[in-house]
Symmetry: C2
Subunit: 167 residues, 2 copies
């Protein structure tokens, strides 16, 4: 009688796992794009890397943290789907999911917004670094999509709160 309500619960579990996998893929590509982003000035030969821009450095940190969290949640989800039991039993699991998704989604959004905040105006001021800013923008866009998936997952885990034993 462990899995007494397979219909709703299994559907939302599978949907959550799908959202994690999608977040994982988008964050991975965002990570690669920002990490390899560099620019060489043709006149002076100066090299600019992503870590010369504080906004991009912050963006990379949020991607790495979000990536680690999503990996952990994927491992938990796969364990749950395979074994039928939650890794964190009792209320702890629901609270971990709720606060984890909430905090990580805020983190991912702030990284993406900081990246765009720098890129949009810097690009208007200096057109010569098109490809550098372009790649960073692509990374920020993928990060934004990763945020959206995490925000949807966060809505799911908020609605799962009533399943806690004490409301």
């Amino acid at each position: 009688m462990v899995d007494s309500t397979p219909s709703t619960s299994t559907v939302s579990r599978t949907l959550l796992l799908l959202l994690r996998v999608l977040t994982f893929v988008f964050l991975l590509i965002a990570l690669i794009l920002i990490a390899v982003d560099k620019f060489t000035d043709e006149d002076t030969g100066d090299k600019t890397k992503f870590n010369d821009v504080y906004a991009y450095r912050y963006m990379l940190s949020t991607i790495v943290l979000g990536f680690a969290y999503t990996l952990l949640q994927m491992a938990f989800s796969i364990f749950t789907v395979v074994s039928g039991n939650r890794v964190l039993s009792g209320d702890g699991g629901y609270l971990f999911d709720f606060f984890g998704d909430k905090i990580i989604s805020y983190l991912l959004l702030s990284g993406s917004a900081a990246g765009f905040g720098f890129s949009v105006d810097f690009h208007r001021l200096d057109n010569s670094i098109n490809s550098f800013v372009g790649k960073a923008n692509a990374s920020a866009s993928l990060l934004l999509i990763g945020f959206l998936f995490t925000a949807i997952a966060s809505t799911f885990t908020s609605f799962a709160l009533p399943k806690k034993s004490n409301t």
Copy 2:
């Protein structure tokens, strides 16, 4: 028998109202700070206003939207405290609070992050506009505090979801 559980419910209602008032105050000051932010170049006489920077323009939009939402929620809260009834009865009220707080907190955070993303790097590149960037940073900081209060309110309204009739 309308107000059968005054203890928990009244405490969280009052706390929520307090969070709304604090958000309101911080967003109001943030709004004034960014709206009056301007800079005149001493050599060329060029005037720069906040709306010349796209990141600051976006920041102002998020402040205005957050401000309007907080005002509405304050009006709802005061009505509820005074009359003892919720403005939106049934599940609608809980869902409005939940999604409203969630979306507005994301919006406020993205505005603050975009502002900082521009300011931090731009300030390193051009030190001559210290006071202009400084005032925008002050506004972004207050916006960030406004976001924190809304994020706390969002946690409250997520935990209130079990009060919906159908879980």
